[in-house]
């Protein structure tokens, strides 16, 4: 019958009142040195602790907190939370039973010191109390004085006390009594170096005492769950967990005993504690106590007893949350390993990794119902451990990943978001540790783990990998590694799953593909042979990307290959034999096929630009047929695919600009191409565009270099043609808008004339220039609505002519006939 809140408060108040009442009389008796009365009232006071009406929580309040958990104890983090909780719920003003017991203890001590009564007599005397609970509390109190007096060996008194306490079998009362015993005895244990240390092997007695107390307390604690109706089991479990620190304190005391060295811990303490833990077969106790063991004992002990400790895990109840405890252990050990380099050999010596790895395997095997996320969490901890402890052992990392793959095998993609998160953590850990993707590429199981991620997360992980490469400017330098890398990021490279095409966010997709494009620049090797292999590998993968990805991935590959071409060009002299595959010719073949893929997209403008780049590179390599082929492709694209008039203007300028720079072509090829270019120029839609393209074509016939082509006649033909078009544009404007057209075209052509005049084209004479200037002047006068920008252009052109005239020398002479 457990009480309701209100009643409980009442009972608590009554209990406190009873304690206060009896304490008052006890004090009076103490003041008057009346031992008999003092004892009587203290017994009555302690009888209040016999109540079964209070919940453990309230019972706790009845006992004095400050005494139970004094400062020394509050350093123990396990107790701290409990104390804090009680601090807020309890009333510290009240005098509590344990507080009073402290006064009794002081009194007893004074009494024995004064010699009015011997401590042995006192020890006997308190045993006459009628009720067992007060009797044992007093006995413990006197026992502590007894030990202090050193009239009997501490070990005997303690043994007596711990045996006597068996008299209380009520779980809550028993727990608190024993906790009191633990508390008063902690500074009186016959430990090494302690003043109570006896002659031979007393430490073992101290350990024996604490372990026995721990065992008994644990039994009481476990038994608590069986008291009361089943329907309140949850509540009881909650209360039980509130009391756990009373039990755990024994372990804390154990860890504080100086005498517990590694050997004793290994031989006695750990096996006995574990035995108790395993045998109690209680989920709550097992989880808490395992955690407690890991927390209170030093890391090096754990390391040395790893086998024993881990051996206990599979024996625990199947419902125990082992993963948390085990993770805790691994985290602690990895922090310990990181603390100093000197401890690392220990880890190797005890083969910590394989032991942990085995233990995890067994636990996962034993607990069939463990959710995937639990298993992966364990692997993350193990991975963190091995990365810290054995950063050089890549095989360990792979082993962990492999185990994870094994666990995941048989499942398709992971749906659980928490598990996904853990996988990402698992995959990110090596990246962060090594800051070098190349390391991760050596792990065969890495991509297999990635396969288990859902498509979205897989992509995110791939982007993380790329970002890691970019951040560390890691150069991926062999084709094998590139292959492995593309296997990793294949989620970005091609459609893994065709069904979900529509969901993709356009912006995200662009960003992803741009990051792939950036990545391609990081795949590099100075050795042409290897670089060619890399290029082929990249090509093989990106070609599968489909029309949406190609426009992003082809250009970086093309330029990467062109860089290689240029590299080879630089080494022309070193070419040995025919066997080497990395020749510009070969690369141009690959380039041709790669750019061709863009046609299916279709992305003609991009392809045209890339063809022109290749043509120019082929020109630099002196490969006329190749350059001609690329140019042909560019022209075909222009003819058939580039429809937008604005795009045509840009394209034709690029064609002319490139062609102007080509010097590899023989007369025939060159004629064909220039003829085509001029033809297309004159066929642009808008007259001004036509005019500009045509006068740009004039440069195709005059290359201002030593042995460049200098065909003054055809230059003039182009310029005249441009003039005719400008004229036509003028007339068209007159017809349609009633105003004169763009004079600016004439000024532009004048400037072109000036250019060739200066370059020494015999066809361009000063009289031709003079005529053109006059023409423009007339046009500008007839043009009613003057265009300020054309005026400025003309003015600056004239200023330029003036400048050249004044310059003197040959140039000045040349310009001299021109009048402005």
């Amino acid at each position: 019958m457990l009480p309701h809140g209100d009643d409980e408060e009442k009972w608590l108040a009554e209990g406190i009142a009873g304690i206060q009442h009896n304490a008052f009389y006890m004090h009076r008796a103490l003041d008057s040195n009346d031992l008999k009365d003092a004892l009587r009232y203290s017994v009555q006071m302690l009888s209040e602790l016999r109540t079964s009406l209070l919940s453990p929580h309230k019972y706790y309040e009845l006992c004095e907190l400050g005494y139970l958990f004094d400062l020394a104890c509050s350093e123990c983090c396990l107790c701290r939370s409990w104390i804090l909780m009680c601090f807020f719920s309890g009333d510290w003003e009240d005098m509590r039973a344990f507080d009073e017991l402290r006064k009794m203890e002081m009194f007893f001590r004074e009494e024995t010191a004064r010699g009015t009564i011997s401590v042995i007599e006192l020890y006997e005397l308190v045993q006459h109390a009628g009720n067992i609970l007060p009797r044992l509390y007093l006995l413990c109190t006197v026992g502590s004085v007894y030990i202090k007096s050193k009239e009997a060996p501490a070990k005997d008194v303690l043994k007596d006390l711990v045996e006597m306490c068996r008299g209380i079998q009520h779980p809550v009362r028993g727990l608190f009594l024993r906790s009191y015993l633990c508390q008063i005895s902690r500074d009186k244990l016959p430990d090494i170096g302690s003043e109570y240390e006896g002659d031979a092997d007393t430490v073992s007695h101290a350990i024996e005492f604490v372990i026995q107390n721990f065992t008994e307390m644990n039994k009481l604690w476990v038994r608590m769950q069986h008291q009361g109706p089943t329907r309140e089991k949850d509540k009881r479990e909650k209360e039980r967990s509130q009391l756990r620190d009373l039990v755990g304190k024994n372990l804390h005391v154990l860890s504080q005993i100086e005498g517990v060295d590694l050997d004793i811990y290994k031989e006695t303490v750990l096996p006995r504690v574990l035995e108790q833990v395993v045998n109690c077969k209680d989920e709550l106790a097992q989880h808490y106590l395992m955690d407690c063991i890991i927390q209170v004992f030093p890391d090096e002990y754990h390391l040395q007893t790893l086998e024993t400790l881990l051996g206990a895990f599979p024996q625990l109840q199947p419902t125990v949350d082992i993963k948390t405890v085990l993770s805790q252990l691994m985290d602690r050990l990895s922090i310990y390993a990181a603390s100093s380099i000197e401890v690392l050999p220990e880890f190797l010596q005890v083969e910590a990794f394989s032991k942990l790895s085995n233990a995890i395997g067994k636990v996962i095997e034993a607990q069939v119902d463990m959710p995937v996320v639990g298993a992966i969490t364990l692997y993350v901890s193990l991975l963190t451990f091995t990365l810290r402890v054995h950063p050089d052992r890549l095989d360990y990392v792979d082993q962990v990943l492999g185990a994870c793959v094994k666990k995941l095998s048989g499942r398709a993609k992971l749906e659980d978001s928490r598990a996904t998160k853990q996988i990402v953590a698992l995959l990110s850990a090596p990246l962060e540790k090594y800051n070098d993707i190349v390391t991760a590429l050596k792990l065969p199981n890495y991509p297999r783990v990635m396969d288990h991620l859902d498509n979205g997360t897989n992509k995110v992980m791939a982007v993380v990998i790329i970002q890691s490469i970019m951040k560390n400017t890691t150069c991926i330098s062999t084709a094998d590694k590139v292959e492995a890398l593309f296997e990793l990021i294949k989620g970005l490279i091609r459609d893994v799953d065709e069904t979900q095409d529509d969901e993709i966010d356009e912006e995200d997709f662009k960003e992803e593909q741009n990051s792939v494009a950036r990545l391609i620049h990081m795949l590099h090797n100075d050795d042409p042979e290897e670089m060619l292999k890399i290029i082929c590998t990249v090509r093989k993968h990106i070609i599968l990307g489909g029309p949406k990805r190609l426009p992003f991935t082809v250009p970086p590959l093309v330029f990467s290959a062109l860089k290689l071409v240029r590299h080879l060009q630089g080494q022309d002299g070193d070419v040995i034999g025919e066997e080497i595959s990395a020749t510009p010719k070969k690369i141009f073949q690959i380039l041709h096929q790669t750019i061709e893929a863009l046609l299916s997209v279709p992305s003609p403008e991009l392809a045209l630009r890339l063809y022109l780049q290749c043509a120019e590179a082929a020109n630099d390599c002196d490969l006329e047929p190749v350059a001609y082929e690329f140019f042909t492709q560019a022209f075909i694209l222009y003819e058939e695919e580039v429809a937008d008039s604005k795009a045509q203007v840009t394209a034709i300028h690029l064609i002319i600009g490139t062609l102007q720079r080509m010097n590899v072509f023989g007369v025939e090829n060159r004629d064909t191409l220039t003829h085509k270019a001029t033809g297309y120029s004159a066929k642009l839609l808008k007259k001004p565009d036509q005019c500009r393209a045509v006068y740009a074509c004039s440069h195709l016939f005059w290359v201002d270099e030593q042995d460049g082509i200098k065909d003054g006649e055809r230059v003039l033909l182009c310029l005249k043609r441009a003039l005719r078009i400008a004229n036509a544009a003028q007339q068209m404007a007159n017809v349609t808008r009633g105003s004169s057209g763009p004079v600016v075209l004439f000024i532009e052509i004048l400037n072109k004339y000036l250019y060739f005049f200066e370059k020494g084209n015999p066809q361009v004479t000063s009289s031709v220039l003079q005529g053109l200037i006059e023409l423009i002047k007339t046009e500008m006068q007839t043009d009613g609505s003057s265009d300020p920008s054309a005026d400025a252009f003309f003015a600056s052109t004239l200023r330029y002519i003036q400048f050249q005239k004044q310059k003197g020398g040959a140039m000045g002479e040349k310009y001299d006939p021109i009048k402005i």
Partner: protein
């Protein structure tokens, strides 16, 4: 034509100066500037030249503090002068990200910090929005001419703007044939009627002065592959426009080191009167 008159780019072995040593020790001792590296430069207050130096310091992020060494010129007046005098224009372009380069060099990124530059002239070929956004974050007054690889079709073919007493023109340059030809660029300059013409496309830094003004090519900020130029070094240009004078600082990354060169131009009264 007038290409021989003004400054010409010196050859490979020209004097290279590292970023802080842009500033030779000054004539007067009015001001000092402490740099990141702990070096303290004395800056003369007498001439505008020192302001230009400071401008570069401010921009390059190596400046920690400016302080006065003497009581003659109080620091307050100096600070007041700065906003009116110093106009920093960044000319940058042909980044070709991600087609030809993964990103801007880290050294450049650390130098280009937001809030120090008043205008950006970009010669195009960024090529993607991310780069556009990056430049915008450096300075909101961003002018871009369209390069042949830019995905954003809204960039104009060319653009003119006025900064201080200078008229600047911006064009990528692939439209000007022969590519990179100075005489042809001069024609564009006459057409746009600008004092300073900024173009790109060749991926090679150039700064020419001729009778009608200055033609600047900031090169490629990423050192991107070019069919026109071999061995491209990453470079950009910072212009300090100050009255009738413009100081051009060229930042070039050579073998992992940022080298800075300074070129001084003065606008002649002749060209000014033409406006």
């Amino acid at each position: 034509m007038g290409r021989a008159i003004g400054f010409r780019r010196r050859e490979r072995d020209r004097r290279r100066v590292s970023a802080p040593s842009v500033l030779p020790p000054s004539i007067s001792k009015d001001f000092g500037a402490t740099l990141v590296c702990g070096i303290r430069w004395r800056l003369g207050f007498g001439g505008l030249l020192s302001l230009a130096r400071l401008a570069v310091l401010l921009c390059s992020g190596v400046l920690i503090e400016i302080s006065s060494d003497s009581a003659v010129a109080p620091i307050g007046s100096f600070r007041l002068l700065l906003p009116f005098q110093m106009v920093l224009v960044l000319a940058i372009g042909d980044l070709h990200i991600p087609h030809r380069a993964p990103d801007l060099p880290a050294k450049f990124k650390s130098m280009l910090v937001p809030g120090k530059i008043q205008h950006i002239l970009c010669t195009g070929n960024l090529c993607i929005k991310e780069v556009h956004d990056y430049l915008k974050s450096l300075c909101p007054d961003l002018h871009i001419a369209r390069g042949e690889y830019d995905e954003d079709a809204r960039y104009p073919e060319n653009k003119t703007l006025t900064i201080g007493q200078f008229k600047l023109g911006l064009c990528h340059g692939h439209q000007i044939i022969p590519w990179g030809d100075l005489d042809s660029l001069a024609m564009l300059q006459r057409q746009l009627d600008v004092d300073i013409l900024v173009t790109g496309h060749t991926h090679q830094f150039k700064a020419y002065k001729h009778e009608a003004g200055v033609v600047i090519n900031p090169g490629s900020a990423t050192g991107a592959y070019s069919s026109i130029t071999y061995d491209v070094n990453p470079s950009f240009v910072l212009m300090d426009i100050d009255g009738l004078r413009v100081v051009v600082y060229v930042y070039e990354l050579i073998d992992g080191e940022v080298k800075v060169d300074k070129i001084d131009f003065k606008k002649t009264a002749n060209t000014q009167s033409a406006h």
